[in-house]
Symmetry: D3
């Protein structure tokens, strides 16, 4: 029934390749099927003004899509002169999600910026960005710990994201673009590896969903989170 | 236990005054306690390019805060030269939510823009904007129906929004600013009057929540939606 | 002869309600007929760089119109990405006018920002903003004096503004929108309560006026200033 | 008493050199003492959307200052990414003033853009721009009439501008920069050659003026207008 | 003598992998040592307004750097709100260079946009963008020819770019970042495969060079062009 | 053969008038035939952040065109809200070129900004800007030396720029606009007075050139540089 032939509760194949760029303190290329996102983590000694002197660290994120990551070419945001509403919404979500898995006292007064750049898009880029972004963050923090700059591990648990939705009337896990563009309901679920929730976003446009349907989607999401957390840990072992 | 002395499941007092501005096709001032939002609906014959000629209508929204609607003065976004990420995120949510309650075929090829301007803020402005925005939309559509420009009612059900969160470890309904600024988890629940869900957003920052806690918040939200739908219908009767 | 049926030298009914928002140090809603402007005054300890350390205070203003304050919806300036020329011109005028009634030594090194936001427009919004802005300023200064932060009253005299113009060949006082949009000559007169002049602007577009006509308009303006100063003092008594 | 040694009612020496750039349909360099403004007029067949098809013409203006036209270097507005409030205010004034001297039916459906660029500034650049801008406009219209594109002369009368102010307690004509920066009251007077008024702007900052003082300034302005109109006519004879 | 241990006239190892993204009509990843650029070509039926209806085609280019393609993180241009001067200069150069190798009549009235996004930077990104951009362009044109949309091959010759400079007093070929940042003279040479020149740019900052030195650099560039043209043809065979 | 009737190796008549604006520390109007550029040099005590405390000076440049310096009116960049790509490219070139002739140690920790504003354009404005910009810089530096603020002359040699190109198949010196708009190859040559090269830019669009043709153009450029250096020295003697 699904365009890809997958089972309703079947994720796309996932691969996470680390160390893909020589300059970043942490990096990976995450591939969820045909969705490919390059994630890099940059450590800087400065923090935003509002926490200067607090001893707390900060994790933030930026998101972008290459102009031809999509089926038809998108306008380059740098040329348009601003980041669109969707971009800003996504990068705020990535930053907020990653911070939920960070002990900012343990991190110490430094900032880590996670850049998530979509090389090829086929649905689910924001979830891939969070899942891959955590891997880049993990690698950067490992470097800090190895150097003795950070003593106690500030990453309390993996941060994982997966999308679920109602496609052709059925709850499905990990929507690809053909599903995403047709889905009546589209949800993003961000959790720690232990399934404690960080953020749930479930939107319907021109449609609605019942509380029972919501629960079915969360069941699917929990399955997806388990599988992705395994992939994250394998990549950073 | 709550700063306002309210019960955990008690909403702030709600008032919705309609017809507050003479130019708009529909308008109201919604007050949720000390949060006051002016909502106006504007009917235009043009639609966005992507639906031109489709026969479908469009509902969109814009959101703003007066500079001194807040405890300390905010910079005016027009002076800053752009709408901030939070503003864009909120106005996209308002538009998406209202559209979920609209039969766009019945509306016909016209656009209704709902402007939500916060006159005084005390938490929950996005929810008040949706709840009040629907009232302005209802009044504008009534005008179209009275004039015979629209025959079948395009508003299938009221659209209602309410916030819930975990404050001091307890699930509470309708957070005001002192609660909102301290809450570990903050959720916005947008539903039709019959409790079918349009959008759920539950965010934790520097914290997480369990699935059980999530369910308690939804229970509270359903209670709030019932009460607000009554107020909407009374205001537009 | 006037669309509203008023006498040539008759103002619209004026009301000034104070204390309309709980956060601002001073606030009022001024209504000149169907023109409604919300004015708030914000006190801050910082001053602009060019007077830092001088011991002098500063008063500045910002102006905005809600998108549907007008007959047809205006584009939101924050969405357009900048304040239009008319907005900038008006807010510079408001700030300059209010400063003319302030003893900046007595105010001391602090800044008061007066925000004038048009809720509903029917002509004469800049004059209403100045007249109402002074009331908000007066209330904020009262708070400073009551707290002992300011000893000697820095407000030397009320600042009042009124428009006059030549409509259908006749000099008229306090133009409303139907008059304003047809007037051959349109003037704004800002004075102290004692009729000393702060600023006079008389513009003709596609037309001109004689020195005699100018004098008739000033006569009308002086009458209007007297009436408005009474309303200001009543509101702040 | 004046820094320049001029009499109270004495203008700076005026020169208007025409034909200073080979591309523009009309051009002049106007020098009011050390204030030098290059004015060019460009004829285009298109008009703004709001008068398309009306048969009416349009005259508009833009204003700029070279970065080092001033005592200390100003930031280039193109580099700053926008025109400042002062620039916008001035170019709106120039356009409005020139249009008051134009019979837009006689001009026919075409647009003339007058660019006023300050090469060297010593006070009074907006007035010099209007007076010189009219000369450029006159020359461009002459070209249209000579070519038979316009039959009846659309320029009904010269448009002339001069500044007056109260300097060291005395009313003075045609303020230069040392006077302008110290003046308690500063006025710009735009008139037709026959002294019918187009626009009067009299501002005080941190000061006020009486109606009698206002009348003395208008007397001076009328004298200045007479002299400038002679110079305009000589230059375009 | 060179930091990399290369001979003065030795290029970095070059690899060009094609077909690296599924959406673009042509794509490659070009690696010149540690400089990695993703090049995609997008075919669109529209052309810029200035050649509409002319029957001529258009080739244009855009350039970007991922924020962490560099040693320390660069600000994202989309977040900064504009493309910097260097970016604009480079993308104009890429477009101009590629067009010099295109028969625009044979291409027909369509546009090909070449996006060059730097994944990892180590000097010479503009040259790599041109050389790789031509490969993406070649592949996109092949698709047009295979589909019969273009009959006669519009690509007259490969377009190749290489940098040379004077490093530590010696002329060297294909500067990497450590050389580039120290070089007294830095040149970019864009040629057809037959060594006809398209563009030469040789800049010194705080230094100069003689005509003899210039000739030595061109000798090196011609050697580099020969080698790169072989790699281009191998990749697109 | 040339539209102007000049010999292939003949420059336009050159004039350089100095001291044309009273505020700038150095200024000139350079005229290369009908191309007129006003160049001013501004001395400031501050330097850019990246050299603060280094003891080194800085020279930078900005470039602009008056809207009607061209055959048809160009949009004012300040009104467009940004400097175009061509403007940025040119002003970076001017700054880089002038710096190549400056001993930044001898200049001391101060900045000189050279503004080049095109009053009338007829081709070759960037070269005229460099040649004239050096004259303004020379005059400003003379002032510093005369005042004893700079002891050893920081200007090591004149900086001169000239354009050459291939027009109608022939190498020509100093292209005017009719030639420039038709030329198959267009080069800018910036040299010191002794013909040491600072920057060479030779571009072909939709065409190419051989190494022999390149050498012929350089021969012409050297002749032009000799003549312009004489004019510079005469103007600043």
């Amino acid at each position: 029934m699904r365009p890809s032939g997958r089972e309703l509760n079947e994720m796309r194949s996932v691969s996470i390749e680390t160390g893909v760029t020589k300059h970043a303190e942490g990096s990976c290329m995450i591939k969820m099927g045909d969705t490919h996102v390059l994630c890099t983590a940059t450590i800087e000694d400065r923090v935003p003004p509002f926490i200067k002197g607090s001893g707390l660290g900060w994790v933030t994120a930026e998101y972008g899509m290459l102009p031809r990551s999509t089926t038809s070419r998108m306008r380059r945001e740098a040329a348009a002169g601003k980041q669109g509403g969707r971009t800003v919404e996504i990068q705020r979500l990535i930053g907020r999600s990653l911070r939920a898995g960070v002990d900012r006292v343990a991190l110490g007064e430094r900032q880590i910026t996670v850049d998530c750049d979509v090389i090829q898009a086929d649905g689910g880029t924001r979830c891939a960005s969070i899942t891959g972004g955590w891997v880049a963050l993990r690698l950067a923090v490992n470097k800090l710990m190895k150097a003795g700059d950070v003593i106690s591990d500030p990453l309390v648990s993996p941060v994982v994201a997966v999308s679920c939705g109602i496609y052709a009337g059925q709850p499905v896990l990990d929507l690809d673009y053909p599903e995403d563009s047709e889905a009546g309901v589209d949800g993003n679920f961000i959790m720690l590896g232990n399934k404690q929730m960080i953020e749930v976003q479930m939107s319907a446009e021109g449609s609605t969903y019942s509380r029972d349907q919501m629960n079915l989607l969360i069941d699917l999401a929990e399955k997806g989170v388990d599988e992705l957390a395994v992939a994250q840990l394998a990549a950073t072992a």
